[in-house]
Symmetry: C2
Subunit: 617 residues, 2 copies
């Protein structure tokens, strides 16, 4: 019986050397894959307290146990980890498309890249052959140009490229890593880590097979899941895609509008998912081996943004639409395209633009600062231009905004931190958490910052399962449970769009065992998930996080929502404290948010006790 003995590729950019190592069954059982591997490997390879742009900051790619196999909706995802230039804490981001499967087919479960190349390079991994190649002629190009040039140079149009655009090269703290044109390891600025290493791209060709321990059971499972994945649970993603959320979140008074000035956008019909699909979507496509086909590719056919193309999603549509007061879908599509080309996190970028617009309207940024841009809310053309300036650090506004909204507010001062919408330095995503209290807690404690993807706790609020306007301690347990389940989803790595087709921890344990040959129960899976959540916390504590960082932007706590069902709502410091206490308690942490020795012992994490010893009562 095959068991899961994984292979890790180590690459040192400074010397050009590389080696491989293997992890054993007990490592796999403890850390599962994906997130678990990423957090564990980062914890063990990141020197404490270094700057994110220090060459020693390891850039880590991970896949999951089923990546590259034919289990629907699990075959294509991969994760990237490093210390984040935006938050100074755990940096992590996930992408999908075809790159992840290729990495596994090349024979790797993890790739750890350290050091800094003397000159721009790209890393070329052709199964077991690993080389660094000169990227001097590619430096300064967009992600799409770079991919094109690399494919031509290697004489192979089927290599897979994961790389950065000008934003990453320029150490823009919102820089992301792009693959397959439209897919991004988007958040926490990992593209800037890549840029700081003089690494333009990681290029893969994999032609090995992926084996599973129990082929027959696996095929049964794959067939069953194929049917389930095409079922009603994913109908929304196939139909309109995630932009279906535009009208519903707006109607529910949870649509961040004009830099969180309101929670509803008056021109929502002009940027609805229905309208965008009708007028702009030209193609629908899927990731490797996925029957859901959620990718809705939109194209602008005429006008000033003619030719712009983007894989349209809720978050960027929110961020470049209502969040910036923009009601022109063509400016939104163009902005999203710019982010993919320059390699900028399209969520964070929109939040930064919204912040810049408010600064401009308040007079904190002048026309001189903006290079003549009239950065008023609703000005789509100015938004597009600002994104370019941010990528290239052009003018004062481009240079400041490239630092991300937290540092930008520090530079601008004048109380602008009141409306700098971030948590822990990561820009917020598209759920107004004044009207969604469970989500507010989830955001506040999320290990990567202002983000809904580590917990998905908005589901309780929007699904009407809880009183979304009342903060209570019981929401702590909900968020804890969500986080652990999501930690497992991201460790396996499953596409989150299919999170509801799986029958809980027991089925996920069964899947893992069938694929890896490692016996695993639902309970063990659950414990592993909690272990991963706790190790993430320990990593963040080691890098300086305290309870005070589990906070909310001042505007969320103090400026009431102006309209809609959530009119008048804030999520106050008092609200947050009630929920935080409940959350820490359900986690078995101290009131300071520190895991106890008992918790470490229970999870087999006593080796990390030194991190917290002097923080315990």
């Amino acid at each position: 019986m095959h068991t899961y003995t994984g292979r890790i590729l180590y690459v040192d950019l400074a010397t050009g050397s590389h080696r491989t190592a293997s992890f054993d069954e007990s490592f796999a059982k403890e850390w599962i894959g994906g997130t678990g591997f990423g957090v564990k490997l980062l914890m063990d390879h990141l020197p404490q307290g270094i700057d994110a742009f220090d060459p020693a900051n390891p850039l880590i790619y991970v896949t999951g146990a089923t990546t590259g196999a034919m289990l629907p909706c699990t075959t294509s995802k991969f994760g990237v980890f490093a210390k984040s230039p935006g938050t100074g804490l755990l940096g992590e981001a996930y992408s999908t498309g075809t790159w992840g499967a290729e990495m596994r087919l090349a024979g790797y479960d993890a790739i750890i890249i350290t050091g800094k190349a003397a000159k721009p390079v790209y890393l070329w991994i052709d199964n077991d052959t690993v080389t660094l190649r000169n990227a001097g002629h590619i430096w300064g190009t967009t992600t799409w140009e770079a991919e094109h040039l690399i494919k031509d140079e290697l004489g192979d149009q089927n290599v897979r490229v994961s790389g950065i655009g000008q934003a990453g090269e320029n150490l823009n703290r919102l820089a992301c890593i792009i693959n397959d044109h439209f897919r991004a390891a988007g958040r926490t600025g990992l593209g800037a880590v890549m840029g700081s290493k003089n690494l333009k791209a990681v290029v893969l060709r994999g032609s090995k097979g992926v084996t599973v321990a129990e082929p027959e059971a696996f095929m049964e499972l794959a067939k069953d899941l194929h049917e389930r994945a095409r079922g009603p649970a994913t109908a929304k993603y196939r139909g309109l895609g995630t932009v279906a959320n535009m009208l519903t979140l707006n109607a529910q008074g949870a649509m961040p509008t004009r830099n969180y000035d309101d929670a509803m956008f008056e021109d929502i019909e002009q940027v609805s998912g229905e309208l965008i699909n009708e007028k702009y979507v030209v193609k629908i496509q899927a990731c490797s081996g996925c029957p859901c086909r959620c990718d809705h590719i939109a194209r602008v056919r005429e006008g000033s943004f003619k030719g712009a193309i983007a894989r349209i999603e809720y978050e960027p549509t929110m961020a470049f639409g209502p969040y910036c007061g923009v009601s022109d879908p063509e400016a939104i599509i163009k902005s999203y395209e710019s982010c993919n080309l320059y390699g900028i996190d399209a969520i964070g970028a929109g939040i930064v633009v919204g912040f810049a617009m408010e600064c401009f309207e308040k007079g904190f940024l002048t026309l001189e600062d903006t290079g003549g841009l009239e950065l008023a809310f609703g000005n789509g053309a100015a938004m597009v231009e600002l994104l370019r300036k941010m990528a290239l650090r052009e003018d004062r506004v481009g240079d400041i905004m490239a630092e991300g909204v937290k540092k930008a507010a520090e530079i601008i001062g004048q109380g602008s931190d009141h409306f700098a919408m971030h948590i822990k330095g990561l820009e917020m995503t598209g759920y107004d958490i004044r009207t969604l209290k469970t989500a507010a807690l989830g955001y506040a404690v999320s290990r990567r910052g202002g983000d809904h993807q580590r917990h998905g706790s908005y589901g309780h609020d929007l699904g009407g399962k809880v009183d979304r306007f009342t903060a209570d301690a019981a929401k702590g347990q909900l968020v804890k449970d969500d986080e652990d389940f999501y930690a497992l989803v991201d460790s396996l790595i499953l596409c989150k769009f299919t999170r509801n087709i799986w029958q809980g921890y027991d089925e996920l344990a069964k899947v893992y065992s069938i694929v890896t040959g490692i016996p695993m129960t639902g309970e063990e899976m659950h414990l592993a998930a909690e272990r991963i959540s706790n190790l993430s916390r320990l990593l963040n504590i080691r890098e300086g996080l305290t309870r005070a960082d589990d906070n909310l932007p001042p505007r969320v706590m103090k400026d009431p929502v102006r309209s809609g069902v959530g009119k008048g709502q804030v999520t106050s410091q008092e609200d947050l404290d009630i929920m935080l206490d409940g959350y820490y308690s359900s986690r078995g942490w101290t009131v300071a948010g520190v895991p106890t020795m008992e918790k470490l012992e229970q999870l087999g994490l006593l080796g990390y006790a030194a991190i917290i010893e002097d923080q315990l009562p």
Copy 2:
């Protein structure tokens, strides 16, 4: 050039005689078709003040100008009109499937059936050959058995049957008329009018063509609409069907639960559209010539309700689910099937069952009344059994509830009218109008009673386009505009699921002209729509309606919602009065809700001035 000169078939059941008549272009231009024809023909053929079960009450079938042609989503709908046994006012209901197209292919734009047959009969229309046939051997059967027997007897499996089950025969005031097994002219008790005439069914065979005035332009239009109709605007209906609303309306705190005790159902996940599709839907089908295919046919595979089959929709799922506190989808599917078999309005039936459950829990109905049924909220088996009793008027409970909720509350007394959820005698539908103020106004003034289908004004509230919790006069204009547009949609007759694919009055005028050869502008269309709305009002006023009938159920005005985003909401008499004043004013009516002479003159309705003369100031 062909112009629209329509044919009306008159049938007198008392004598068995029939004749045809034609209407001219000016009639078509004034009344469009569908609703317009139905209201106009009823107004002119219904003797004032008679009982709904009087043989003189005309039962009127109508089609639209494009019925039977190949314009997507307009080919299959038909309407039925008569004085309603439930409300004593305008009775109207619409159905789709294949019957409507067949009626047009048989050469008729309207069929007017008066009188009462001495013995049970069915009406057999084979193109121009019209006969009454004995239905003695069919009387007492379900709608499905009747269809089967009729097809066998006529030796033609392709005839189309629109008929009643036992409920209609027994003058159940909730009785509907069923065609194509799963399609119903559902509301306002028209099946009982059919039953009162000893008419079991109207059976059709049509083999004539349907011609259009401008074939080439028509084909262009049909192709274009075919694409639009398959686009994003109808994605919801193709995907999960209208049961997609179960989770969203619940989350928005607008789900009538346990006879309007609350606006959220705690077990909503168990009756979600996602779950029902996943576990029960076995087939998806479409009406004649429709690319949308919204029919989701659900089947119970095992257990006590094994074999039950129903075309699953939001409204009955709401009514037999949350509204009755039932969380068993199999009991819901079985109940819906029972309604189709017995021929009962599945919406009204659920509201009546919920009422009966509250009466039982309050002790207003005893076990003796119920024939031993434990009619507690949540008891799905008892619900199924009560529906049978209502159809057959078995036991006191069956006999009382067959009268509809308004009359049932009058019989039961003890203040039960406080929670008898109807307007004008028509049971409410599935939008909690305490939390949706625009919808509340729409329901209050709807010409057929407690209903969302004459205005669709919930769209403003749920779409977040207005403050849904505040009553203001401006909502009057919104409802007025909605009603007029819907009057036109129902006159053409278009499927409402496609209401958003049309580009307003101008495009609808163009469609009408291309099909009928009658020149028509958007403005003329708009005026016709308003004319139809006003004639409906005049008809209702003639039959006794006053401002006091434009009301809301006492529970809506006095019992606050218990949970969800709308917690604490009522729509009070004061709220209603503010909105009513705004509505009447936008309509150009008096504060008593009576059209003025100026309005009648503007709409060419002065011929009906006698109805209102003594009501004007």
